[in-house]
């Protein structure tokens, strides 16, 4: 490679004769919009979210009205996805539950992402004593008993959906920060970081503009793994009493209940599990597409 491609030079240093390049983010957006699988995943996610947010307003059945004489019936015209053992409409329970699950998945993951990436990047970049202290704090947080922590949260602050986000976010960022730290350490002695340093860029700019964009691959992959973990953790927390309470529901809780009755009433497991999987598959396609779109190297092939 005799002449470096324009993207690799800071735009301030470009001679005016070169054609104006587009920003890397616009390039990425362009590549993403041409990836059919990723667009498909994105569209499904938007449709599902819209259904869960707006759907319940248009439903004939609500999530809590019971019809005990009906009991658990398979899908039919009145109840499209059947009913549970208390005669509650599964479809509307799924849509209401989706609001909770999508919200938990989104907020707790954003919390984990922001804290984990920033924390891991700072520890990995500065290294030395600071890194030691920061990583030992992570070790401590890993080891503290989660069940006790959750019970204490409930005792001091009562039942509150925001506590759920906090409790999940508080544990999910730990592994993210260790992954980010490992990646940052592996690239911090690369030439382009040296170059950025010798150009006199500040540390903050080097970390956030030059290093983090280059480790986004593993970050995106781990994020798409965090979201299902978070949604299932919510089911465990609801079991402990933090999280959603009956008659309200969530996908994790519905799957858990369905698993207990899978032999007698299979639809109670099949529909929640299908919706859950559809969401996660879409998310995954979108994540893979994002990863590919943000990978500057592979796009040069």
């Amino acid at each position: 490679m005799l002449s470096p491609s324009p993207e690799k030079l800071p735009s301030a240093g470009l001679p005016p004769t070169l054609e104006p390049g587009t920003s890397p983010w616009r390039d990425a957006w362009h590549r993403l919009s041409r990836n059919r699988l990723a667009v498909f995943g994105g569209v499904i996610l938007i449709v599902l979210t819209a259904l869960c947010v707006a759907g319940p307003w248009f439903m004939g059945n609500d999530y809590q009205s019971q019809d005990l004489r009906l009991g658990a019936v398979p899908p039919n015209a009145a109840h499209w996805l059947g009913t549970d053992t208390l005669g509650r409409d599964l479809f509307s329970r799924l849509l209401y539950g989706g609001r909770i699950s999508l919200l938990v998945g989104f907020i707790a993951t954003v919390v984990a992402l922001v804290i984990g990436v920033t924390y891991g990047a700072i520890a990995g970049f500065f290294g030395g004593k600071l890194d030691s202290v920061m990583m030992r704090i992570v070790d401590i947080l890993y080891a503290l008993p989660f069940t006790i922590f959750v019970i204490l949260l409930m005792v001091f602050f009562g039942r509150n959906i925001w506590l759920l986000f906090f409790a999940i976010g508080a544990v999910e960022w730990l592994t993210m920060s260790r992954i980010v730290r490992g990646q940052i350490m592996s690239i911090k002695r690369m030439e382009y970081i040296e170059a950025a340093r010798s150009l006199g860029f500040g540390r903050r700019r080097i970390i956030f503009r030059h290093m983090i964009p280059n480790i986004l691959g593993p970050v995106i992959v781990y994020t798409t793994l965090t979201i299902p973990a978070v949604m299932l953790l919510e089911a465990f927390l609801s079991f402990l009493g933090l999280g959603v309470q009956p008659p309200m529901s969530s996908w994790g809780v519905l799957i858990k209940d369905g698993a207990e009755k899978m032999e007698e009433y299979p639809w109670l497991l099949i529909f929640p599990a299908t919706l859950f999987s559809l969401t996660l598959f879409s998310l995954n396609f979108l994540g893979d597409g994002l990863r590919d779109a943000l990978d500057v190297r592979s796009s040069k092939d």
């Binding site: 890993y142 204490l152 005792v155 592996s186 691959g217 992959v221 858990k256 996660l280 592979s298």
Partner: protein
């Protein structure tokens, strides 16, 4: 490297101290005590029980006594739930099953996960990649409390190949190890694929190809070293979790492991058992994260021990 390890081992002391202290006071702030269970106790019985376990002393005195016993004698105390048993005995009794299940699951996770991940990365955007990714996604989408009963239904009840629960012969080992292993295999596969894709485009891989290294050598000798970095970071804490047992798996398959004690001890307010399991888990976390940091330097020559 030895200086690095020695320094890290020294750092372990304050870490464990903080964990024990925080946990000791956290469990005490939880409402309810070990003797508030369903059985009615008269004030006299209660008083005697508290005296027996030393729970009538001032809290700071209890704390100092506990530290003294643990540090000087390695004695984790007596369990309040399982009368007449010590926490050391309970751990010695239940840990082996969890460790065995953990090692089997870890093997399943690494073999399946690495194979699927490497295949997906090398044959990127082909049918093989999609098949491997679909396998991984299925492992992530189907939680253990669904996969476990499903496998039991098919392989134990309908086909009768393996047993549904218990922990005696090898037929008891298959289904729980698979259930737990497939979940972790899914994580390993996704992270391996992601990590491999990061490095397969790097210049040093091109150099390796240019100098005529065979494709297998390029993948296993050069690409895998860099590509495994995120997997290794993930595996440290994951191994600690997997070795100390899983609450869900042990409940489904009726395995006498330690995983259930992590959750139950908290519900029973069994202060000493909570602390004992936390100390065990903490030692594993700290130790495995140290191993991870050493392996990372070995995998990536650009890193240094610092």
């Amino acid at each position: 490297m030895f200086r690095f390890i020695a320094r890290r081992l020294l750092e372990t002391i304050p870490v464990l101290f903080i964990i024990v202290t925080a946990t000791f006071f956290m469990v005490r702030f939880v409402p309810g005590g070990p003797f508030d269970g369903e059985k009615a106790t008269t004030p006299e019985i209660r008083h005697n029980l508290e005296a027996y376990y030393g729970l009538n002393l001032p809290l700071h005195q209890q704390y100092l006594n506990y530290l003294d016993r643990v540090v000087l004698h390695g004695d984790l105390g007596r369990s309040t739930k399982y009368a007449s048993r010590t926490v050391n005995e309970i751990i010695a009794d239940k840990l082996p099953a969890s460790v065995e299940l953990g090692l089997l699951s870890l093997t399943v996770a690494l073999v399946l996960g690495l194979a699927a991940g490497i295949l997906a990365a090398v044959k990127r955007n082909t049918f093989l990649d999609y098949a491997a990714s679909a396998f991984a996604m299925t492992g992530i989408c189907v939680p253990t409390f669904v996969l476990g009963p499903l496998l039991v239904l098919v392989f134990a009840i309908h086909l009768g190949w393996f047993s549904a629960s218990g922990w005696y012969g090898w037929t008891d080992r298959v289904l729980p190890s698979l259930t737990l292993g497939v979940v972790y295999a899914a994580y390993v596969a996704r992270l391996t694929r992601g990590g491999m894709l990061e490095v397969l485009n790097q210049d040093y891989i091109r150099t390796a190809r240019a100098k005529g290294a065979s494709e297998l050598r390029v993948i296993f000798r050069h690409a895998l070293r860099g590509g495994l970095l995120p997997v290794v970071s993930f595996l440290g804490p994951a191994t600690a979790g997997i070795l100390t047992g899983s609450f869900v798996i042990e409940t489904i398959f009726q395995i006498p492991g330690l995983g259930r004690e992590f959750v139950n001890s908290a519900f029973n307010r069994d202060y000493t058992l909570v602390l004992g399991t936390v100390i065990l888990y903490a030692v594993l976390i700290v130790g495995l994260n140290l191993v991870v940091d050493v392996v990372q330097v070995w995998l990536n020559p650009k890193l240094k021990f610092e």
